[in-house]
Point group: C3
Chain length 155, copies 3
């Protein structure tokens, strides 16, 4: 663990303060996650998959290999939605503590926490998972897409 | 479920990227919810009601009819605060995954998730509800107000 | 409880609407908390302490006196991290409902909710605490630092 000199702001803080486009970028990133998670939770598997680049990847502890590309991503989301429906469950994904860093190659690295809440019909909701989500976002047309996502769980 | 062409960004993403005022609007919306929920949780029923327009409406599963206008909204919030106090409970409302869309008529449509946490004096907090909150916000003076709110629960 | 005249926007709403730098400031504040909480949760005690000013204070219900200054703050964070590790626990702090107000002296007052989630190895996460966090942030170099933090719990 490095001891940071107090006189020096962290690079992320410096960028957030001095980059005139930071406010806009940060809002765009938050909007992107809001839409992406709402698509996932509503079972819109193809539209959710389309928030990744054509060859985008999604790695997580429950799969030995990352899913890659729209077809695989959509198939995974559809299977998950069907499994939840069969169990009478609905999931809500909430992204928070979004730390955003512009990279020299123009991509945007985002590290955030994801809370996953599960509700069974007729029951109280419960906290299902807390994850760390590390994304490389890239611009495609005017919007953002995920090129690479790595999710890890605390449990 | 429509399959979106990958080459085309969703309208929300396009707007977030190309609207130069999007960063400011998004921050304003988040600030609005922060203040509105803190007023509600602190029992400031009249001030909370005043974050709606004069004839603003609030529909939710627990009421057959939406509450309408400041007097009804404030009465509902006061009754809820008194009920919680009598049970030794406090609530915290947390809005997340805020998806913001400017409408042609100048209003702002916001779809978000609301987490409601309940704490009984001397006990650990628990997750009480997860809701979807759909708001039409309008400008009144410099600030924002809710003209129409529809809340639905997963349970 | 004061009844606010409906025709008058709250000062916070007015500021959010009319301050051209509000979008940038709000994003900076959110980025600051994201980084600060991620440092704390990852056990980076010294780097976390350095997000306070040199004589920054942190008051909370579990301590009779506020911690003051980097050495005390870092020692507290280190002790907490070691205690959690010994119990096989990890914590995630999530700040939400961030209400931001510029003060006349140039500082920034922020009132927010903090959710603390705890996960024991091999178990499901649970909600540990909901707190109200009141911070005075000041600019130091390009970034923000906490000059004074007061945390209160509902329980």
């Amino acid at each position: 663990m490095s001891v940071r000199t107090d006189q020096t702001a962290a690079p992320e803080d410096r960028a957030a303060a001095t980059d005139p486009g930071f406010g806009h970028l940060y809002a765009q990133v938050q909007q992107f996650y809001a839409r992406q998670m709402q698509l996932l939770d509503s079972g819109a598997a193809e539209e959710w998959a389309a928030t990744f680049t054509e060859d985008g990847t999604f790695a997580r502890p429950s799969s030995p290999e990352p899913a890659r590309g729209h077809a695989e991503l959509a198939a995974g989301a559809r299977a998950a939605a069907e499994r939840l429906a069969a169990e009478g469950l609905s999931h809500r994904h909430v992204i928070g503590m979004t730390a955003v860093r512009r990279e020299p190659d123009g991509s945007v690295f985002v590290r955030s926490y994801a809370q996953v809440f599960a509700t069974r019909r007729g029951e109280a909701p419960r906290l299902h998972l807390i994850c760390v989500c590390e994304d490389v976002l890239v611009r495609e047309g005017p919007g953002l897409k995920v090129r690479e996502r790595v999710v890890t769980h605390d449990a």
